[in-house]
Symmetry: C2
Subunit: 217 residues, 2 copies
Amino acid sequence: MPSSRRDRPAKPALTRAGIVAAAVRVLRAEGLGKVTMRRLATELDTGAASLYVYVANTDELHAAVLDELLGGVRADPAGTWEEQVEQVLLAYTEVLLEHPALARSALTAWPHGPHYLALIDTLLGLLAEGGVPPEQAAWGVDLLLLHAAATASEQATRRSEAGVAEDWNALSREIRESTLPHIRAAAGPLLGGTPTQRRAWAVRALLRGITTTEVES
Amino acid sequence: MPSSRRDRPAKPALTRAGIVAAAVRVLRAEGLGKVTMRRLATELDTGAASLYVYVANTDELHAAVLDELLGGVRADPAGTWEEQVEQVLLAYTEVLLEHPALARSALTAWPHGPHYLALIDTLLGLLAEGGVPPEQAAWGVDLLLLHAAATASEQATRRSEAGVAEDWNALSREIRESTLPHIRAAAGPLLGGTPTQRRAWAVRALLRGITTTEVES
DNA sequence: ACCTGAACACCGTTCAAGT
DNA sequence: ACCTGAACACCGTTCAAGT
């Protein structure tokens, strides 16, 4: 290693962890759209082909990035089991909302990194604590996590603030002036409520459904 | 029009409807991955740039294609309102499952084509018939459609049958042998049930939650 | 108003050749 | 075993120039 002392930026060895860390950096700085094999290769001062030794493809890389971000998802152990479920889901949703493009990949590639599994385990434990039968709990956790990912996906938009506002105006006019009777009549509630209110209602409705709906046998 | 008689394939004029029709053809034949501006341009014997006169961008094109496919989604008017809701949702899910990549785009770009709006109107009508308060009905329809799109998205996989089976084996072993207590204990239900059973349970749970959970005011 | 070719700025992935 | 450059086969979108 005689020359290592004078190699200036001291290019670090390529590792899977290093690649994922670089991916998280690029994600935070510029969004998932820039988390590409080629861009990461540039970031790591190598060629795109070299990354394929550590990562099978772009989807797998995105999944690894999401799991990394899920490290901090926890609930305050005070509070009822329902409150804790809501907290965990909210924390999960918040991570996804920060990076909605990742929420999309969570829907496609079933995530199974360590942090995601820990999240499932936590939710299963809380539902068990609440006396929810095991089968309903297992399928219910699926439903809750799916809902969180889907909600965040909906927010995934790469357009400008102005464009979004314009779209919303067009949509709201379309609904209020629709010739479809039920849509027109329900214009208020269809367009109403803050995202937070809607999310809170949805989680309550989901939990109610999960706890009271038996799995047919 | 003197030469029109001898132009052999009689290239039709470019229209938005023509572009969407071509997109549906390519989708059916080769999947959404091939529904690109460039590919469609080739199909229509023109350049990609020409399509931008009729379609703002690729996302809008995909949304138009989805709405087109939604034309046949209906319920049998016999049966209870719950049964009809289940039928409509099943029909919607089936369209999305045939083209899971479109389900993803339904999650991102809020669809608002005529057929999608008709679908919402139908569901609102059925929930009203069932006596569900308007606010719960409006937010509930959102929840039901979101769930259908999310479920279909999950199926979106472009890998081989063999690859999927291998993944499933790896996942099922990971769950059965997990060191996380609740996951290990719930391995059976977590891995059990056919997609149809799970879907049916989820729709029942969602409806139960929607009909019994009040919107706070 | 519509259409076009060419250009700009990218992608993922594979592969033969090197170390 | 790992790394690399180059290549293959694509993308979306914009723009100046034509009709």
